[in-house]
């Protein structure tokens, strides 16, 4: 346990030392603020909570941005150390290979959690404080869900990043594959699904099947989790028309995302265990 803690601390310190956390937090805060203000401008005096608008805007931002930064952080984890020669040295110490992966995962997740909490937190507080509605009347519940699910989304793509990193032997390959994974989950998957629906004349494909096909993608689960979190967010995101049986329960959405954390992480450990040094 002590050794795992040592590994975690090192990853966390690295993140602060090379100013990664500061940079990402600043970028996230800036983006979040811009989106929040742009998003809240047209609401005027509607009954919709400005924070609900923020949640909708931020979750759209997260779907692109969080997987990207998580992959950027993770793809280098194993292969980078292998290239520097520190991996060999590390493994001659009394640490097991699963500990190395878990140490990186916990350390990196800690860094991303800081960036998300601070970045989105600042945006959320600003909107809530400048809005006309009372502070306590805001959609805090939706906002809390946004923060927690964003951390979960980050964990998903960290795990996927380690799979790549433990597998390939060169950093360049790992970087290219990380971009590929990002494109696949964030863009291509949904486009493919859309194409499938468009090619269908409307009676062949089972709606239930399409729903689960979509939700199997963790980014879509994340979207669904946040956009239907309250009547306000659903209304704003065009999800209000969804009948109850077309939604998925929170538990199943979280379960999908959690399994996207655990399975790749287990795969990364298994691959790393077999890696030749």
């Amino acid at each position: 346990m002590n050794r795992l803690w040592t590994l975690v601390c090192k990853e966390a310190r690295d993140g602060f030392r090379n100013r990664w956390v500061i940079m990402i937090t600043l970028v996230m805060t800036a983006l979040a603020l811009i989106l929040s203000f742009l998003g809240s401008a047209p609401t005027g005096t509607t009954s919709v909570s400005p924070l609900a608008v923020t949640v909708v805007s931020l979750s759209s931002l997260s779907i692109f941005f969080i997987p990207l930064i998580a992959l950027l952080l993770a793809y280098d984890g194993v292969v980078g150390e292998a290239e520097r020669g520190t991996l060999t040295l590390l493994l001659t110490h009394p640490v097991s290979r699963p500990e190395v992966i878990l140490g990186k995962f916990i350390g990196h997740l800690f860094l991303l959690t800081i960036a998300i909490m601070v970045g989105y937190g600042v945006a959320g507080l600003t909107i809530a404080l400048t809005g006309e509605a009372g502070f306590a009347d805001q959609e805090w519940d939706s906002f809390r869900r946004l923060l927690l699910s964003s951390v979960l989304l980050a964990a998903v793509f960290l795990s996927l990043g380690y799979v790549i990193s433990a597998w390939v032997s060169e950093r360049g390959t790992a970087a290219a594959m990380a971009i590929g994974i990002w494109l696949l989950f964030v863009l291509l998957y949904d486009m493919g699904l859309l194409a499938l629906l468009a090619s269908d004349s409307g009676n062949g494909i089972n709606g239930e099947l399409v729903k689960w096909l979509m939700l199997i993608n963790p980014t879509d689960s994340y979207r669904m989790f946040n956009l239907t979190s309250s009547s306000d967010t659903a209304l704003l995101s065009g999800m209000a028309g969804l009948s109850a049986d077309h939604r998925a329960s929170d538990a199943s959405l979280v379960l999908i995302m959690l399994s996207w954390v655990i399975m790749p992480l287990a795969a990364a450990i298994a691959i790393f265990k077999r890696r030749q040094l």
Binding site: N2, R3, K10, G85, T86, L89, T92, P94
Partner: protein
């Protein structure tokens, strides 16, 4: 019982045999040098000893344990390792680096100043590694290997790319560890400087163990001649060349080779001549020459 024991160890990478059926042991307190060309299998051998790769065939035992077993983690605390090429993280200080590895080893972090002192880095311990010279990085690596006073020290090319002063420093530390009873496995190219420090040499060529023994044994087995150089007045030189068969003459000195084991006979002969001599110099073949001759022989046998 030997600290390191290799029994018919073979390691294949695809079709190439990186290590081919090697047997040897390193006794407690012994300093064994692993020499060979690049790609002779030294690093692969070291990786198997450290439990980083599993041998394809044969058995490796280190401190009585299988290095690939999970239980080997207990043994790892007693092993110090300096990799051939290690790039420590530039944005960490030397102290943070050692602190990290000490914690992983479960060693005390109070003794770090002592280690910095030994490798002559105390004044830069709190500087970032980015500001270190190559020699300083190598010495930091060595300090890392010395954490927790290891019983077994494995050094892969500890002096590659170092200036003579830093080399002497590294050799001094190796000497200290040896006198303290540490078992040392060292792989090196800088053979001449190692001569006096090692107990035995294992010569590898293309994954095969081509020679194993003390330097003196290797010299005798390979039959490399020693070289004798005599400075004398011109008169004596004439007699010398006539007597020993007209060997090479350069600016007032005669030089000739003397077969292994024949030094005393030649000296006696020289004294019997009873001629005025100015100076005499005898050079035994260096480890470098022995090694070259050995690997050359192996290659010829291969072809």
């Amino acid at each position: 019982m030997n600290n390191i024991e290799l029994i018919s160890v073979t390691k294949d990478y695809g079709r190439t045999k990186a290590v081919d059926n090697i047997d040897f042991g390193v006794a407690p307190g012994e300093c064994l040098a692993l020499v060979g060309h690049n790609g002779a299998g030294k690093s692969t051998l070291i990786k198997m000893v450290l439990g980083l790769t599993r041998p394809t065939k044969g058995r490796v035992t280190v401190m009585g344990h299988d290095p690939m077993a999970t239980s080997f983690n207990r043994v790892r605390k007693t092993i110090g390792f300096l990799p051939e090429q290690v790039l420590f993280q530039n944005n960490m200080t030397g102290r943070e680096t050692l602190d990290f590895y000490a914690r992983l080893k479960g060693a005390s972090v109070d003794g770090l100043d002592d280690l910095f002192c030994r490798v002559d880095l105390l004044s830069s311990a709190d500087d970032r590694i980015a500001t270190y010279s190559k020699g300083m990085r190598q010495r930091l690596g060595l300090a890392q290997a010395l954490i927790g006073s290891p019983e077994l020290l494995i050094l892969d090319e500890p002096t590659s790319g170092l200036d003579p002063a830093s080399r002497q420093n590294v050799y001094g530390i190796i000497n200290d560890m040896k006198s303290a009873g540490t078992t040392i496995l060292i792989s090196s190219h800088a053979l001449t400087e190692l001569d006096s420090r090692i107990d035995r040499v294992a010569v590898l060529s293309r994954g095969k163990l081509v020679a194993l023994g003390t330097i003196a044994e290797l010299r005798q087995n390979i039959g490399l001649p020693s070289e004798i150089k005599i400075q004398a007045p011109a008169e004596s030189l004439k007699i010398l060349t006539r007597h020993f068969g007209g060997k090479c003459l350069i600016n007032g000195a005669a030089r000739f080779s003397c077969p292994a084991g024949g030094k005393i006979a030649i000296l006696k002969e020289l004294m019997d001549l009873n001629i005025p001599l100015a100076d005499i110099e005898m050079n035994d073949p260096s480890l470098e020459q022995v090694f070259l001759a050995l690997t050359h022989k192996e290659r010829q046998a291969d072809e």
